[in-house]
Subunit: 479 residues, 3 copies
């Protein structure tokens, strides 16, 4: 049976997969749509195949374990961002990147526990969820742990353990915050960065999430974004863009004639390691976003998702490398590595409903857009240290449109979603960054600290204290 | 159901979870307690919920797979310790750390196979298990693999595959050994270190384990230590402390006036990477210690465990950073990173029965104790290169007490356990280190080798042979 | 039950496990052997234990999830190879290694999607599979995702999701390609390397795979290679050997008198990290190669496999270190790290049917052979930069023989398999490398580029641009 199907497969690839899910919210609470109760997709066992009744506890366990294992891999992406960014900056600022990243992951985890998750997922109306503090296991779960066997039915009906979902959602918000730190590296002070991180992870991202995965107005409109091309990656990208505009470029990044000075990564091995970590973590990011593992249909979908994720990234790498050869006259490793990220971001909106060859095309176009976007930002004199905005924002927009192009859906909903998230996140981020810049705190390190480096000037710990380093010529040339 | 429960959750958080398990040994053999046969918890399907009879094979598979997947993540912690330690030492000793760590993981794996596991888990009376050599699959498992379908029932009744449990326990003993290498870095010779590692992993740790997870006297007394705040982390910490006392501080670590010279990490990125690896691995360390995944109750517990683990670590980071700001006048990245470890160690004794907000508090206190402990050790002129003793021993003691404070249990049993393990491990380790020091081997490298570095002086391979390094001024100042 | 079995275990170790599977192809299509239809082993539920009928969907989910989780770990091995290799080369060539590795993983993924998988697994006769382009989900899977509940039975009968298997097989071909890049580092040009990678992953490896795991002539003969000591590792090793012979040694590697100059790794921490990554990934490599997780027997086998994998690696490390002490007069960390790889490769042919103490012996011998092989290559003036040929080819041959020695099987089939794969891969690789060398492209960088380094000379991006480096004396001495 299998082999027959397998050899048939190349033929069947010509037929576009029907859109299995018209929209794929992370969680649909039972809300009224024009007076009709819409039962949550989860409880309906969509797609239509379920374990038989007697298997529902196994279903629960598998759904939960999927969240935990894939969520752990998504947490690992924070290490990936840390390596990517700390290897990309000049050595004099690398420790600060480490501090910012371990700090932002910690802040995100606590903010999402105290405020964020409830705003995003609990009692969401159209725009925002609950303002209650903290989140925890359901009462049925507590009863079950307490030994009340009668609670089992209620627990199993949940579909998965409450906190396994929380864990999986928490590592997503951390990803959003990670995107910002790279773009703003080498000149934004630590304290305002952490304050912004708190706002982003406690409020901004959760509100975007409430509109979409939480079941709010964008979700109801039919906006589809499977694992977050817009919701996670563009949100991070818009927040970064606002910060980049207000913070301004690094000293000496742009010459008087407008040319951008190249700022090569100080540790290419660590950057490459970071990209491999992100690539690995993305299997959890997209695979876990199936949200279920309790049926054969889920397992099939998750498999297709991982394959599409990998194909899009691979295409992003190769096309970006080719593009760099064509534009710059030589293969540019950094463009290629960023192409992997762009390919991954591009496929993230619809890895479940995209045919495999389309994943390759989507990833390839994402890679080109990212590469071109890196140039565009330089023309605009926007200084994004690691190319986070092209890789996450531009590729994120592309991915959100692409899913609709290749797999069907409401293009208007996609455009409205992209626009609404963009306006909301960019405007709010801009206000926060601006307020921080105008406050006594400021967001920019002093000129002296910037020249000396944030590690020695602000943090008091150098990344590589025993290594003899080249004098950094950027500022000198500027003087 | 789920959503109602979820929005209820903040209310229900106010009620302290009842202690689900009065004590949580890893394995309770069917031993007689005052004449009554206590059926092993595992076979009793505690907590009271089980898969139905027809699901028991799935139960077995899930329990086993949980051990394997989470165990693989715990093995990954060895890479985390290696990076943390090799980035923390001066460049001239970094290769030796790599050698010691790959060596100790190998020694631990073989020692636990030949001797350790049997001492710890097989036929344990009150104090020690079996002296048989080697460990392997059960006879039912061999029969099953051999195609005897009749063996299935016996295998399934085991609850999990014999060697999946061995694998999971083995990576724990390696963790214990990893703790020691960091504290003793930069001056302890390779051979005595390996000999001590052999003793620790083949005998010392297994005996501590027999008393507790193996079902021995401490377990019977009610001592609870879910994933090893005391059993793994304090054991490693006590062994390290004995070694630190006997080996003495590095040349030039303490000035004539008693001040400690700062010894900044030589590669901050690698240290940070190490901490991220450890954080990720800890999900396996604590999550896998649920030991089962065959019921909804297990899945719920495992989810709560991962969340508590993450919250405690995040709190440890932020509170340690704040503490360092308050004490030292600046945020200290290294203190923050160690705070993550301390938070993780602190929650390890009870991540299953601790409410989430308590996990935050426990982790935060762990971070403070660790930060203060780092200062204390310096006052005592104990030279712990990576802060392993504060992070693992002090936080381990705190965690073992904390679980009792927040979730109930017998505080006397906890104190007795902490004390007994401390006295036993410290005394035995002290004797072994002392014997090694007095032997012709010695434990300390010569002054020449220490000045030159262990890499060039003892190992003959430099960590970064092509990089130009700053002259190291510690010894020169000392001269 | 369990504990009784456990304490029995040391006794039962004395009895050699019977060979559970006479040969272990990855997939046996229903082919005619002399007129008799051989039902695929998978569908027969071999070994003889199965979930009951009602559990088959859980079976499907578990099989699939095992492929995905373990496959993700195998993908991670590419990061391991990248770190191992980029840390091993001189700094002036480290970026090129990063580019080659991210590039080869991308090429392998696309080549295996378009051509490779079909050649290897679809409609395989004796020698080769289908020439169709692209691979995808089965028609039943597409129907199921489309909501046709009636398709469930057909899907479940497959045993696992089509693309989960593709994913798992794809990361294997990437491993093969990774082996080549290390051996040929520091002098082979990027373009010819990528062209060879395409040939290897699209054609050479898939044909070897068709003969064996695809069910072709070697499989029918009884050749057994559980996870690819020969099929993956020796294939990579032979391809590397051909390249090494044609490319010739690096400038200055061999002195006029024939002595080999030592070329120490430029970043020992990164090399060590790479080995830990590979060790972790190997749990997925060997564990996932059980191909199933849907029965207790599978779970038991997978557990034994992980334990054997770890024991063999540990033995490889310690014996290699001892060997280096004996031969070179000092413990050589690099030899020890390569010993881990060699131990892992050695056990890969039969981790499922090897008793644990045999795994130790097999890994130990693998470590010695690898260490000796590193010396042998130098005597032969073959310049394998990272020791890939000893670790993968020599240990791969040993492992393929060892499985037969310790667990039974047809030694003739093993020898024929080793020889056939060797002749085929070496000859074809030699022809391709030779053709590339004779083409206008060439395979070797110019002398100027080689002295300057590929990073600056060919790629235009230095690995550590801010660090002051020692002048490299190899070429100068040669001049």
């Amino acid at each position: 049976m299998h082999l027959k199907a397998a050899s048939d497969a190349p033929l069947s690839l010509g037929t576009i997969w029907r859109v299995v899910k018209k929209f794929s919210p992370r969680r649909i609470p039972p809300v009224y749509y024009g007076g009709v109760i819409a039962i949550p997709a989860l409880l309906m066992g969509e797609p239509a195949v379920e374990f038989s009744e007697s298997l529902s506890e196994a279903d629960f366990v598998l759904n939960t374990f999927s969240f935990l294992v894939w969520g752990a891999l998504v947490m690992w992406m924070c290490a990936g961002f840390t390596m990517l960014e700390s290897g990309s900056v000049r050595t004099k600022n690398a420790s600060m990147i480490c501090l910012k990243n371990i700090g932002l992951y910690s802040i995100a985890g606590l903010a999402f526990f105290f405020i964020g998750y409830n705003l995003m997922y609990v009692d969401v109306g159209n725009f925002i969820g609950s303002f209650k503090l903290m989140y925890g296991p359901s009462s049925d779960e507590l009863a079950l742990l307490d030994g009340e066997a009668g609670a089992l039915g209620g627990v199993v009906d949940q579909g998965y353990a409450t906190m396994s979902d929380w864990f999986f959602q928490m590592v997503f918000v951390a990803t959003t915050a990670s995107i910002v730190s790279g773009a703003l590296a080498e000149r934004v002070r630590m304290w305002p960065f952490f304050i912004f991180t708190l706002a982003l992870t406690a409020v901004i991202y959760p509100i975007v999430g409430a509109w979409t995965w939480g079941g709010g107005w964008l979700s109801q409109m039919g906006f589809q974004d499977f694992a977050g091309s817009t919701i996670v990656h563009s949100t991070g990208g818009w927040a970064a863009l606002a910060g980049v505009m207000i913070a301004g470029p690094r000293l000496g990044k742009f010459r008087a004639n407008g040319d951008a000075r190249p700022t090569p990564p100080s540790n290419v091995l660590i950057v490459t390691l970071g990209v491999f970590i992100l690539w690995l973590g993305w299997f959890g990011f997209n695979g876990g976003s199936q949200l279920k593992l309790g049926s054969a249909a889920d397992a099939v979908a998750m498999s297709n998702i991982l394959v599409n994720t990998n194909l899009a990234a691979a295409a992003g790498v190769l096309v970006s490398l080719a593009f760099s050869r064509f534009i710059f006259g030589r293969m540019d490793l950094i463009v290629g590595l960023n192409g992997a990220i762009a390919g991954l971001v591009s496929i993230t909106a619809g890895p479940d409903i995209t045919e495999h060859y389309w994943a390759i095309i989507i990833g390839a176009i994402g890679g080109i857009l990212c590469s071109a976007g890196m140039r565009l930002l330089e023309k605009l004199k926007l200084d994004d240290v690691v190319g986070a905005i092209p890789a996450h924002l531009i590729a994120g927009i592309w991915g959100t449109l692409a899913v609709c192009i290749v797999a069907g859906g409401d293009i208007v909903a996609q455009l409205v979603g992209i626009l609404a998230v963009g306006v909301f996140v960019f405007a709010l981020s801009w206000l926060i960054w601006k307020a921080l810049a105008l406050s006594p705190l400021g967001i920019r390190v002093t000129r002296d600290v910037e020249e000396l480096g944030q590690d020695a000037g602000e943090l008091g710990i150098e990344a590589y204290p025993e290594f003899v380093l080249m004098p950094d010529s950027y500022e000198e040339e500027e003087e």
